[in-house]
Symmetry: none
Subunit: 196 residues, 4 copies
């Protein structure tokens, strides 16, 4: 409020633009580091990759969860948004559910350590966990309810458990060639089907 004499609005504008650019640099760097070292990579590494001081990271993303969320927000959002569309176009609700889960798995499986971080009881990641649930749980619930309503699947598993199970199945999937998370998830989803 007391920044009289700072110049015109455009000055503040460029400031903001700078900050925004910086933020994006950070996100890109973090994404890159997460791929190679996982989401628990040392803050220093990320700062180095972004060519930025560590303080800058803490300023933009006070907790690690904030950073992780920011990095994956777009993809999580895209996943969330895909739900209704799939439901509308899918042959059946259960099929839509399956395809939506595939989307989620595709996302998780390619994020080194993300699935594990989501399940960890580490306090650092509580917010991360919460974000994913906030965003995806309603969608999953909708799909699940639809599938249950159509009689295709049993209705005794809630979306939280399903998402948790799927997330769990994705843990470590990228580092073990003998394991195929997609396959396992497929079986899990198959298991949901109403026993004739």
């Amino acid at each position: 409020m007391n920044d009289i004499g700072q110049g015109t609005g455009s000055a503040a504008g460029s400031k903001r633009k700078d900050a925004r650019r910086n933020r994006q640099t950070l996100l890109d760097a973090a994404a890159a580091v997460f791929v190679t070292s996982g989401v628990e990579a040392p803050v220093r590494d990320i700062a180095a990759k972004a060519d930025v001081g560590m303080g800058t990271i803490y300023r933009h993303f006070p907790t690690r969860a904030d950073l992780v969320i920011a990095v994956y927000r777009h993809q999580v959002d895209a996943c969330a948004e895909a739900g209704p569309a799939l439901l509308a176009t899918g042959p059946t609700p259960h099929a839509a559910l399956g395809r939506w889960i595939d989307l989620f798995v595709d996302f998780l499986v390619t994020k080194h350590g993300l699935a594990a971080a989501l399940q960890t009881d580490n306090a650092d990641f509580e917010t991360l966990h919460a974000y994913f649930l906030d965003r995806l749980l309603p969608v999953c619930t909708q799909l699940l309810d639809a599938a249950a309503a159509s009689g295709e699947i049993r209705s005794d598993l809630n979306a939280y458990q399903l998402m948790r199970g799927v997330g769990n199945l994705c843990i470590g999937a990228d580092s073990d060639p003998r394991y195929d998370a997609r396959r396992l998830v497929e079986l899990l989803v198959a298991g949901l089907r109403q026993p004739r």
Copy 2:
């Protein structure tokens, strides 16, 4: 001379008894610490709990994996041994498989951090991973084969993947009241069933 069947030699007998007691103290302490802090708990903590120097732990269990294996060996063995029995008594192979997996899940779910450790790519736990596989994979394979042979289940999932999936589903199960690993595993196993 009258300790035939006692093991290796008699000279060190008295010493042996002490060491054995100590070893047990250690295992108990480790088990206790594992429950609260997970299998990655600092060696120091375990030593403290056992009221023992850290060196003592390293003497008995040179690597962390050795300790973890020792702590859970009996239960893993029991699980392994239960396989054939279940197969013999179960109504069907698939039912036997389900019950055997329940056993495994019951075990894992109560061991804070074990399931996660099994899936970690941390070199410390390689041996642990190997031990579980050595012990349980053959049993699982046998059950799976039998179920496949009986035509109850699809035969396109190998035991490794199944165990990995089940193990994954157990991660973090003890610290989240909203999640029921047993339930998810049940669905997974159901998903194995031959589609009509």
Copy 3:
């Protein structure tokens, strides 16, 4: 803006000054500790002496060799640079060699444990060893060659061996009043003289 010629960039200038002061504190502390406890003194001790966290040492000097080199760099460089001058001014090349070696000995003899560290096969000190050789071997070679060319000394000892011998003779010289490394080195150099 007026720090032209100060080094790399101006933005970090103020920071740099601080760090530089700290670096110097570290070097002083290390030098002091080295005097009393030798160059293998615990990192903690050096940090304590400098009244600094241990991390600070690791930041400035990632390996122990880096620290040791930094502590002695000036003196090693001075020694290296003295070579050509001595050669130019000395009555004979052999005399110059002798005086140059005296310089080296004076340096080594006052550095508790340095001579020993130079000869140790401890991997930590490889770099240190290399640094000394890089810096001093060429100089020694030059002097040795000149003396050989002048016919004063035998030419069948290379500079590496000479330096190693001299270095060895300096080991422990500071802690044994009955031993006079300078004297021994003098004899060694005398032994180089061409047998009439």
Copy 4:
């Protein structure tokens, strides 16, 4: 005492013999370990090699120096005893000195870490140092005096310094193929010669 039926007095005899054998086993093991790991090898390793408890080592050789001395005693003694003989047979006292020193060097150079241990200020090795001096200093003095008396060498270097110098030159000689301690010692001894 309650080993009635063990036999006659010969039992005690065998006891002693046992102890002696044990002692020898220890020395052999230590010698072997010293070769590969140096004289500072962990006590445990030596005990293991000897297939003996660590307590046994401490009983026989309370300090490390005691053990080292015992291991090398014969060779040190042999070296000491060779002195007078060489003096009697050598062409000149200086030649005898040179040959005696060669003997010493041959001994030292083949004992990984011994030369360094002799020069260390580590309190553990004080006794070792003392033993070597006790045994060899008189011999060296005798040879040196004779050579000085014959006018072959300068008389201003005492035996202690000479031995120390020679010892120093042997440090690390076995692990550096570019360094030839014998050569350097030869030069040192040459340097002793009375300048014309």
